[in-house]
Amino acid sequence: MKTMIKTLLVTASLSLAGLAVENDAPAEPNLAISASHVLVEGGVVLEDAMVLVGDGHILAVGKAADLEGNLPAGVQVVEHEGWLSAGLVAAHSTLGLTASSDSTSAFMPDLALIHGFDPNSKALTAARALGVTTLGVEASRANVFGGTGAVVKTDGSVVRKRANLAVSLVPPAIRGNRFPTSFGGGMRAVRERFEAAEQGALADAKSGKLRTSFAINGPADIDRALTLTNEFGLRSVLRGGDEHTEFAAELKEAGIGVALGPLSLSSNERTYASIKQLAKAGVPLAFGFADNGNVPATLRESAALAARGGLDRATAWNAVTKTAAELTGAGDRVGRVATGLDADLVLWSGDPLLIASKPVAVYIGGAKTQGDSH
């Protein structure tokens, strides 16, 4: 732990230097939060640290002793006896959507899910009370091309209007009361449409502008996703599944990340073996809950269970923050406590990777959210 802190001091001073260079006229801080532990990102914890917030962004992160002396007058100071971290990020979610697919056709690549997103949904309030601040919104598995998803925050604001294309070659997308009803029919249809696409979401997926999210059940689905990814040069993420072990090296080579469904106490050894194998191979790993009832509480539980199951703490924490943000395409905005990023911060009663800890306060864009945290 001591070594860790030394490294962190360097990180902290770099952050401060970065602040001065990046912004010509740095925003004045209006909020300063000190905490006994600041979980900057997976594997990086600062003790007795402070985060300065201004204009909705993180302006500085450092030792409280270094920062608190220079606070301008009028800054609100919050002293927290506990942990502070970035808000949790769900790699995939359908929270706040009035519907997560449209049955007009099995092929709706340009259906924009953002238009089904209700920023006033009560589900968002519940999610942020649990410390979940950012959601990768993705279409459900019901259609082969489910549409383009977005990245939103649980205060209802929009980070990216159009962030991903959902592809499902698993039931129910391919066993509805319509074409296609087979893997072969689905593959053929996907190929034909990608080949023909010159504009829109399919063309943007081919050019890599949009990330393609493949719904996965078993390893055969991974084989199909790899085949399509290679054929069309897609930038892919695999959504769900618990048997990736065989393909860890191929996924790493193809630059494909894995956004798993939530873990539970009844997750089996195979699931943990798969997760550890992916981490060992260096495959980006995140958690989401779109296909599993959209229960936001499962997000932090998944990180805790992954750590309990033998995944290193840093990867486990990043899977619900930094890596999840990167896989959704919002890594430049959220997922870490770092200068320049959005001030989405959660104050915890203790180490957030311990299930006994609970969120005490949640900030999104520097503003404390309303409602009881629990």
């Binding site: 066993r175 009361n177 074409f179 009803t181 087979s182 893997f183 078993g218 084989d223």
Partner: protein, 397 residues
């Protein structure tokens, strides 16, 4: 005589342009090559993924691997190892460009069962719930985990079905359609009508650009004989239907799968000409498809007619019903061991168009071998080892 040859092979002295060195040598009391060659006491040498030498003689088992018998890896044209309903595209009864291999799950436990029973190459087709179901592929039962790397031949035949199965689940439309399955065909006649229409439309498309439709080129390849038509027909009436269709459209290459009752009317078969895949033999004679009857001597009769014959286990999981046992049952019905062996190796490999790679024990072919504890296909023998692409993938020792 043997030793010097093998030693030369091992040191690579004769090897043209840096062939890989011999890595595995297996000797046996009997080597059945399935191409008519038989060695009483022989040795097979493997270099890389290929067979490097087949020579008489061999060690008696003090060193190296020695077994009672070696045959080529078995080939099953109809293992039914598809994804069930999810292999069937129900949006149209005629699927000419659907690729059955897209529905294959290489992590299915059935692959291991097939491999352990000695089957090293199979053809995959969709479940027979469409009139014309899609294109088949030939793949190995083990080895690489990516489908593409296991595939010997993609789209090597067009698969279809007659009989009751193709209309199963459909129901007639009275007034308004109620769902996706409110559609034709609902009967055997309907199934045949859909087939015939598809071939007529193709003939029309071949002569008139304006009548071309999606997938007509695939059908045209069937009419021209480039693509064999692999069609399920089990009951006498369905085999008639298949052969009538072959005659009507002069289809050069038809393989009838599950043709249990084919010898009820040998004269039509002789006249029309088709290759036959028999379904697994059943103790009471009644097979699983359309309850059709398969007499034990059917294989014998087909070979006497010089009809190309392949046996299939149709994916049966029961150990007493695997492909090797089918060969044994065919022998009980009168085939010689050589004829039975051919029906589970060389003939299916030829029909599938992959005989340059698999089907016999010959220098240069894929090193796919079955190692037996006794005479192949005998009730008292079992598979004690399987070599696939030069690797021992299964052994009981």
């Amino acid at each position: 005589m043997l030793l010097p040859i093998l030693l030369t092979l091992m040191t690579g002295e004769v090897a043209p342009e840096a062939a890989p060195p011999v890595k595995l040598v297996i000797s046996a009391d009997a080597v059945y090559s399935a191409d008519g060659n038989f060695l009483e006491g022989g040795t097979v040498a493997i270099a890389g993924t290929k067979i490097a030498a087949v020579v008489p003689g061999g060690n008696s088992g003090e060193d190296g691997l020695h077994v009672a018998a070696i045959t080529p890896g078995l080939v099953d044209l109809s293992p039914r190892i598809h994804a069930g309903d999810l292999s069937v595209e129900e949006s149209d009864e005629v699927q000419t460009s659907l690729l059955a291999a897209d529905s294959v799950d290489l992590f299915d436990k059935r692959w291991e069962r097939l491999l352990k029973s000695g089957v090293t190459t199979v053809m995959v087709s969709p479940a027979n719930e469409n009139c014309i179901g899609g294109l088949t592929s030939v793949i190995k039962t083990g080895g690489a985990k990516r489908l593409k790397e296991r595939t010997l031949s993609e789209g090597n035949m067009l698969a279809g079905a007659f009989g009751s199965q193709a209309a199963r689940g459909n129901h007639p439309v009275y007034g308004r359609p109620t769902d996706f399955f409110s559609r034709r065909p609902t009967t055997r006649m309907g199934t045949e009508w859909v087939h015939r229409k598809a071939f007529y439309d193709t003939l029309a498309a071949m002569g008139d650009e304006e009548r071309q439709f999606d997938g007509w080129e695939v059908m045209a390849r069937v009419i021209e004989g480039e693509l064999p038509y692999f069609v399920q027909a089990s009951a006498t009436q369905d085999i008639r239907t298949a052969l009538y269709l072959k005659e009507e459209f002069q289809l050069p290459s038809m393989i009838i799968d599950a043709a249990a009752e084919v010898m009820r009317e040998p004269e039509i078969l002789k006249r029309a000409g088709a290759s036959i895949v028999l379904p697994p033999f059943a103790a009471q004679g009644r097979t699983a498809i359309d309850n059709s009857f398969l007499p034990w001597n059917t294989a014998r009769q087909l070979v006497d007619l010089e009809v190309p014959l392949a046996l299939s286990a149709h994916g049966s999981a029961a150990p007493d019903n695997n492909l090797g046992m089918q060969a044994g049952y065919a022998m009980r019905g009168g085939l010689t061991l050589d004829e039975a062996l051919r029906a589970v190796t060389l003939t299916p490999a030829e029909l599938a168009g992959v005989a340059d790679r698999v089907g016999t024990i010959e220098v240069g072919k894929d090193a796919d071998l079955v190692l037996w504890s006794g005479t192949p296909f005998a009730a008292t023998s079992r598979v004690i080892g399987v070599v696939l692409n030069g690797e021992v993938v299964f052994t009981k020792q």
